[in-house]
């Protein structure tokens, strides 16, 4: 038996675990689920979940007083037998889990549509013309990131268009040569090429006793043919306005990325110095230090970003104006570089 405070205390952690598992559900799970004839509004057992919360346990249709549990609301309730995900049965951190069917009300559908009308699958699909918020990758690379937005150098009528993302996305952290082909969405097909790596700001790592500092993790790729892209568009952001805006504490922001789609958060601090970011693995870390960062959090809600969202443009929620470029995080907070610094470095403007 848990009280309300105890159940509420694990809710954020549960939501993060659920979102991570949703992203990790592989094609085998999806195929296994669809093979049961259950492929409908959702693609996998965990994307069947559309809401979570804390409530009183209901057992056999009766309320169990004073027993608070994690509520998991699904589009369709069905017995998946052994394929039932561990996260939707039993308990989580000692707090019971109740799965309930809850149809999505029409008003909520409308509200959700205005906040985010896209799913991660939309951001990961091959899409033409290419716009901001889509999954991109160097050709043949075993990783993906996000195209933040398009930028232009030179006059509106004749300037060169570029795709803007991170160094660690477009150049695999200083590794790939200038000219490397960039694909949308992923893979090795020449028909998916839409840009070529043009410039990146090298990320400096400690070496020989030096402790270099970085300010941006950014790169641009030249668009190979202008008819492959569409300016002025970021997937799922209806009010995108390609005019730079300075980041401010307390500013509500949004972003469009390949893993978590459109999410919202709040800027908690700017000009943050001494941010250490791991570009390696947990067992083999490769640490770079950044200054002048922007920090974003989404207290009480799902994570603002997850792996694969790197390169997303972060926009002021109310105006759709870009303020920062997402590149790192830890599930609790997201770290970005100031977009004014990025655009100044490459002499470009958002379009």
């Amino acid at each position: 038996m848990a009280n309300f405070a105890e159940a509420s205390a694990v809710l954020d952690e549960y939501r993060l675990a659920l979102m991570t598992e949703q992203q990790n559900e592989g094609p085998q799970v999806s195929q296994a689920f669809s093979a049961q004839g259950a492929f409908s509004a959702f693609a996998t057992p965990l994307t069947n979940v559309h809401a979570t919360g804390v409530g009183i346990r209901i057992r056999g249709g009766k309320i169990v007083s004073n027993d608070f549990v994690l509520k998991v609301y699904v589009f369709e309730k069905q017995d998946l037998g052994k394929k039932t995900p561990a996260l939707t049965q039993g308990s989580f951190k000692g707090i019971g889990i109740d799965v309930e069917h809850l149809s999505v009300q029409q008003a909520l559908v409308k509200r959700a549509a205005s906040a985010s009308s896209t799913t991660p699958a939309n951001h990961q699909a091959r899409t033409r013309p290419v716009i901001g918020g889509l999954q991109i990758s160097p050709i043949g690379a075993p990783f993906v990131g996000t195209l933040g937005c398009l930028v232009r150098r030179g006059p509106a009528s004749s300037g060169q268009l570029f795709a803007l993302s991170n160094n660690h996305v477009l150049a695999d952290t200083n590794s790939l040569p200038i000219g490397t082909k960039i694909v949308q969405s992923f893979g090795s097909s020449p028909t998916d090429i839409f840009a070529q790596l043009n410039q990146f700001e090298p990320i400096q790592f400690p070496s020989g006793g030096s402790s270099p500092r970085n300010r941006i993790d950014a790169a641009i790729a030249a668009i190979t043919a202008n008819n492959l892209v569409k300016t002025g568009k970021i997937l799922g952001i209806s009010n995108y306005t390609p005019t730079l805006q300075a980041a401010q504490p307390g500013m509500k922001v949004t972003k469009s990325g390949r893993t978590t789609a459109v999410t919202q958060g709040i800027i908690t601090a700017i000009r943050v110095n001494g941010v250490t970011v791991n570009y390696g693995t947990q067992s083999s870390p490769r640490i770079a230090t950044f200054d002048n960062c922007v920090q974003i959090a989404n207290p009480g809600g799902p994570s603002f970003s997850l792996p694969g969202d790197s390169g997303s443009a972060i926009l002021e929620l109310s105006t759709g104006r870009p303020v920062a470029l997402l590149f790192a995080g830890n599930g609790q907070s997201t770290t970005a570089c100031a977009l004014t610094s990025v655009c100044s470095r490459f002499n470009v403007v958002p379009v």
């Binding site: 401010q248 504490p249 601090a269 110095n273 001494g274 570009y279 590149f327």
Partner: protein
């Protein structure tokens, strides 16, 4: 009192942070401070942002004595390291 996991600022009352606050955040050295930055308190007054180890009691008097009268917004260093996404 321990530092919160996340500091939620208010919107600033003036568009730009005071130059002296920016300089302070760039030059501050303190053994308990992991990162520094600029933020606002919940009323929108510009403040120094610092992260400190999660077991440290706040406020830290000798840190605040260096802060030129600016409020200090503390955040506890998260357990999870920051990684490139």
């Amino acid at each position: 009192m321990l530092a919160p996991a996340i500091h939620i600022p208010g919107l600033p009352k003036t568009p730009d942070p005071p130059k002296s606050l920016v300089e302070l955040s760039e030059s501050l050295k303190h053994p308990l401070v992991i990162r520094t930055g600029v933020t606002c308190d919940q009323s929108g007054q510009w403040a120094l942002y610092v992260t400190v180890p999660k077991h440290v009691n706040i406020p830290i008097p000798d840190l605040e004595a260096k802060c030129l009268g600016f409020p200090v917004a503390y955040e506890a260093e998260p357990d999870e390291p920051i990684r490139a996404l």
